[in-house]
């Protein structure tokens, strides 16, 4: 237990230290911007990993929840002048309720059907965001005002870097806590064998719904904050490709590894930036990574690397 706890907190400490010293190596705001985007993606991926990596359920529509969060903030805080924090909470509650309502029947479905259903939800959300241009600004998206709380305005990369960094540490901490709890074990049991989990008393449906809702809410909150940070949101942030991108990050970094999800998000946020010079090859590289990861290292980057270092097996 102690060793495990120790391992848990070391990971978190290392991550915190990296976040703390990184800005010293970033020459300008553009790099901070990328780091922030990586942070947002990482938050969503940590949540999505609870669903995909730990509970073994797939979602091809998580960008939809991210998008709802973003637009809830954009519309409620912008158009209707709500305090941003209230708009964020309202978005999260709405996503939570929506996810709950669809999860109940959908998570009964398995494998391909679940993929189909979540994909459908994601696509419907992005179409609604694109079409209801009176509210959402349509395909061009909408401008969102900076985040204000207690009279303080969060603006600029330098501020947001620390906000996102702190939140990411928080989200990772929550995720690690959850995994190492009875509920976390129940989730993993659902992945391992639903029927075996049931016969020792695990209400598998309940936990599947719960983790689906939780990961959706993570995505929504990240979406809300992203909207305020970026200042511009478009339906592209909610579409099928974004969902696939998120799944890719989780899978590439390492399913069932919280830090793997973070690493996956960071690497795959950087990659397209590094590849802008080779924009023509971007899709080939992304598609190739996806296939190669699944075929050659199905456990993902971080767990595969960790396995090479026997001493730190439980990273």
């Amino acid at each position: 237990m102690n060793a495990l706890l120790h391992g848990r907190l070391t990971g978190l400490l290392v991550m915190g230290a990296v976040i703390a010293i990184l800005p010293a190596f970033l020459p300008n705001n553009f790099y901070l911007d990328i780091a922030i985007l990586a942070g947002f993606n990482a938050m969503v991926c940590v949540g999505l990993n609870l669903l995909i990596g730990y509970a073994g359920q797939i979602s091809l529509g998580h960008a939809g929840f991210f998008g709802i969060g973003a637009y809830a903030s954009g519309v409620l805080a912008g158009t209707y002048g709500w305090p941003p924090i209230l708009a964020l909470l309202a978005g999260a509650v709405f996503v939570g309720v929506l996810a709950f309502a669809v999860a109940k029947p959908i998570l009964r479905l398995k494998g391909h059907y679940l993929a189909m259903a979540t994909l459908g939800i994601g696509i419907i959300v992005s179409i609604v965001l694109r079409t209801e241009s009176g509210i959402t600004g349509g395909p061009d998206g909408m401008m969102v005002d900076p985040f204000k709380i207690f009279g303080v305005e969060l603006y600029g990369e330098k501020v947001w870097y620390w906000v996102v960094g702190a939140l990411l540490v928080g989200v990772v901490w929550l995720s690690l806590n959850l995994i190492d709890s009875p509920m976390g074990r129940a989730l993993r049991a659902v992945h391992g064998s639903e029927v075996a989990a049931e016969v020792v008393g695990v209400d598998t449906a309940r936990f599947k719904v719960m983790v689906f809702v939780l990961s959706a809410v993570f995505a929504s909150v990240a979406g809300s904050l992203f909207a305020h940070y970026a200042g511009l949101i478009t339906p592209a942030k909610a579409d099928f490709f974004k969902s696939i991108e998120l799944v890719t990050m989780v899978v590439f970094g390492g399913m069932a590894s919280t830090f793997g999800a973070v690493v996956g998000a960071v690497v795959l946020t950087l990659l397209p930036q590094a590849l802008t010079v080779f924009q023509d090859y971007q899709q080939i590289v992304l598609g190739g990574i996806l296939m190669a990861t699944m075929v050659f290292m199905p456990k993902g980057l971080l767990p595969t690397l960790a396995a090479l270092l026997p001493a730190r097996r439980r990273a």
Partner: protein
């Protein structure tokens, strides 16, 4: 009023025929390997792009379609061989991700070869609309529906009459038993990818004069084909065909009478409703898990 309805029905039937072909492709691969091939749409794209660009450079149309078809089949076999087969015992989630990766990869390669812009393919027999009771139909629509019908019947005969077809059917019913009676299951999987790729490529070629061809054309067509397959009950070939036509017609009617902007959402709304209320599709069988 009636003319309008007829108009929507005709466009729905045309696009529904393509969904049906795509859905059938999904079903064939699913039956042989229990894989949902998210790269199905890319087979359509390969067919459309190859025939459009080849004819533009002077290759006669039938030959261009044939080359596109062959190219797609080759790609299908490669995907099966190097991605799907290697992950044979992987989970559903893993296999879904592999085929999604394949689809993105193929799109990337296609962009490199053909560029991202729209390509034009002339209609096979002119563009003078045919007037029917006040609605107009493009001659190309007849090609689409006709080709789809011929292919669907041909596939039906293939499974019913030929040894290879029967072997593929047997594999879908019971993989182990098929293996025991000497069917090379690996080859069946490869054949299923090749067959689905051919279906998709022909679909892409005949629909290209109506929609243009471009590297992203396969995304929505593929996803709608998937909804068609699920609607008809995964693995049910005739079901997928009916599903495709239903999705196509519903979409056209929805675009006409409800909102053209929500056209693409209609298929997914239908499929969600079906999944929630009849999780095995319209014609699917109930399965029981063995423990």
């Amino acid at each position: 009023m009636f003319a309008e309805l007829l108009q929507y029905m005709l466009s729905g039937l045309t696009i529904g025929a393509i969904y049906a072909l795509a859905g059938l492709g999904f079903s064939i691969i699913y039956n042989a390997s229990h894989v949902i091939n998210f790269a199905q749409g890319e087979f359509i794209m390969i067919g459309g792009m190859a025939s459009a660009t080849l004819t533009a450079s002077g290759v006669p149309l039938p030959l261009a379609i044939l080359i596109g078809c062959g190219g797609a089949m080759l790609v299908g076999v490669l995907v099966a061989k190097f991605a799907v087969e290697r992950a044979r015992n992987a989970s559903t989630v893993t296999l879904i991700i592999i085929t999604i990766g394949a689809s993105i990869f193929l799109r990337g390669v296609a962009e490199l070869i053909w560029g991202k812009d729209f390509k034009r393919l002339d209609a096979f027999s002119g563009e003078t609309p045919i007037q029917i009771l006040g609605a107009s139909m493009q001659p190309q629509s007849l090609w689409v529906v006709g080709c789809a019908a011929v292919l669907i019947v041909a596939i039906g005969l293939f499974f019913a009459k030929t040894l290879t077809g029967k072997a593929m059917l047997a594999t879908s019913h019971n993989r182990l038993a098929a293996q025991l009676v000497g069917i090379d299951v690996k080859r069946v999987v490869l054949a299923s990818f090749a067959l689905s790729a051919a279906l998709g490529a022909v679909g892409g070629a005949v629909v290209a004069p109506i929609t243009f061809s471009y590297t992203e054309m396969g995304i929505m067509l593929g996803l709608k084909g998937f909804t068609a397959a699920v609607l008809g009950g995964l693995g049910n070939g005739p079901g997928a065909v009916v599903g495709g036509v239903i999705v196509g017609v519903a979409e056209a009617l929805g675009a006409g009478y409800i909102s053209s902007a929500y056209k693409d959402a209609i298929a997914f709304v239908i499929i969600l409703a079906v999944l929630l209320f009849m999780p095995n599709g319209l014609f699917g069988k109930r399965g029981t898990e063995r423990v």
